[in-house]
Amino acid sequence: MSVKYTPVQWNRVKYCYDALLVAGTILFLAVFLPLPPEALGHTRPVDPQITNARAFGACAFVMLSIILMIGPLARLDDRVLPLLYNRRHFGVLTCLVALTHAYFVLNWYFAFSPTDKWAASLSANTSYGQALGFPFETLGIFALLCLLVLAATSHDFWLKFLGAPLWKGLHMLIYPAYAAVVGHIALGALQSQEVTTFAWITAFLSLGVAGLHLAAALQARMSPDPQAHAVPDPAWREVCDVTDLREGFAQIAQLPDGKRVAVFLHEGQISAISNACAHQNGPLGEGRIVNCLVTCPWHGFQYDVRNGQSPAPFTEKIPTYRVRLKGSRVQVDPVANPPGTPVPPVPLSKAARV
């Protein structure tokens, strides 16, 4: 959570996460680099620069695959959520590894190009009309450009400046980037290898990524958050019954404008806030109340459920909703209050709590 921006917001957990990331990357490269040429499908020894390029390329692909698996896995199973916590650092490291791959490629295959190396890489092969011999380099350049945009806009400043929905839209570039990476490998490195191990690894990881995303999307479609029901009074919408509420947790409902409201029960009182966290629009209603504060399940931003404000000195705010009880039915006013607006919580009557 930001007060004044700092270059990198590290804490103990993030130090451990990053140390594991760096150690994993070094381990991958340490295993890959000494592989004998036959293991990589080469019939003759290859130059170290080519091995370097392939090692960093393979490492970037594996890292990107893992990054793309974390999101849907966390949707399917809460226990994966800790991996989501610092995924942006994972992304930045992946971008650096991919850049190193590009550096080795450009400075080897295009080292003596009379034209600019980037221009040479774009013009060396322009057979876009054929699958065999397709200029797979262009796919790699496109993916690298996407990774650069994502890594360069990963600081929390960008989230606040662009707004979470726009930021998330921009970061969906990761999907075409990953597809391009798979194309880059399938039409590039795999074409020249007689050993099928890497083809299987590529297929296993990429189809795993695709399968997990399809599974998470299907799950969201098959068990969507319930709609808030219309009631005779058009100014209100019904979310749930008081018996559905559990102390410290929320019921989520979709409102007519497509937004989601999270209705929390805290110390026997009902409050309603936006389900979208101010940070990356994480699902606050899937979090719980810790130390009197709603805690986002994605990266731990916290809000007072009665006013949608982060505790001082933090400044994040989320919209709140008016809430009322009609008998045992919980109703909200579907028009959100501006972020940080205090709303008096509604106490559960004794009868309703029985």
Binding site: K4, L148, A152, S206, G258
Partner: protein, 124 residues
């Protein structure tokens, strides 16, 4: 100038304009639109690569925030519905690349004759 050289030159110009926007925005624009950035300087160099790459978006958001025409409500509407389309598109693209790559792959017996994939370009 070849097509590739034009692309690289355009990229260079894009980055130079981005550098100009970065100087203006980091110099005095950002503190106007984000109070958390006021007095915080150490993190600003980290934003330079992002501004170089997406400076038109920076200018657009800067304008909206500076004019106070940013509507708060849209910030709390995540684009969740797009995920299904992305997942399907990604899966189809991956399948196409894997299958396409496997189908066109040639094996390389040591004595195979060279095969021309496409006609050579005729230079005038």
């Amino acid at each position: 100038m070849t097509g590739a050289e034009i692309i690289v030159e355009a990229a260079r110009i894009w980055l130079w304009i981005g550098a100009g926007v970065a100087v203006l925005f980091l110099g005095f624009g950002m503190a106007m639109v984000d109070e958390d950035a006021d007095g915080a300087f150490a993190f600003r160099p980290l934003l330079v690569p992002g501004i170089l790459l997406i400076w038109p978006l920076v200018l657009w958001r800067w304008g909206r925030l500076a004019m106070g025409s940013d509507d708060w409500a849209w910030r709390y509407g995540p684009p969740r519905a797009i995920h299904m389309a992305m997942a399907v598109g990604l899966s189809l693209a991956i399948l196409a690349f894997l299958l396409g790559g496997a189908l066109v792959k040639q094996s390389w017996p040591a004595d195979s004759a060279p095969q021309q994939l496409s006609a050579p370009e005729v230079s005038e």
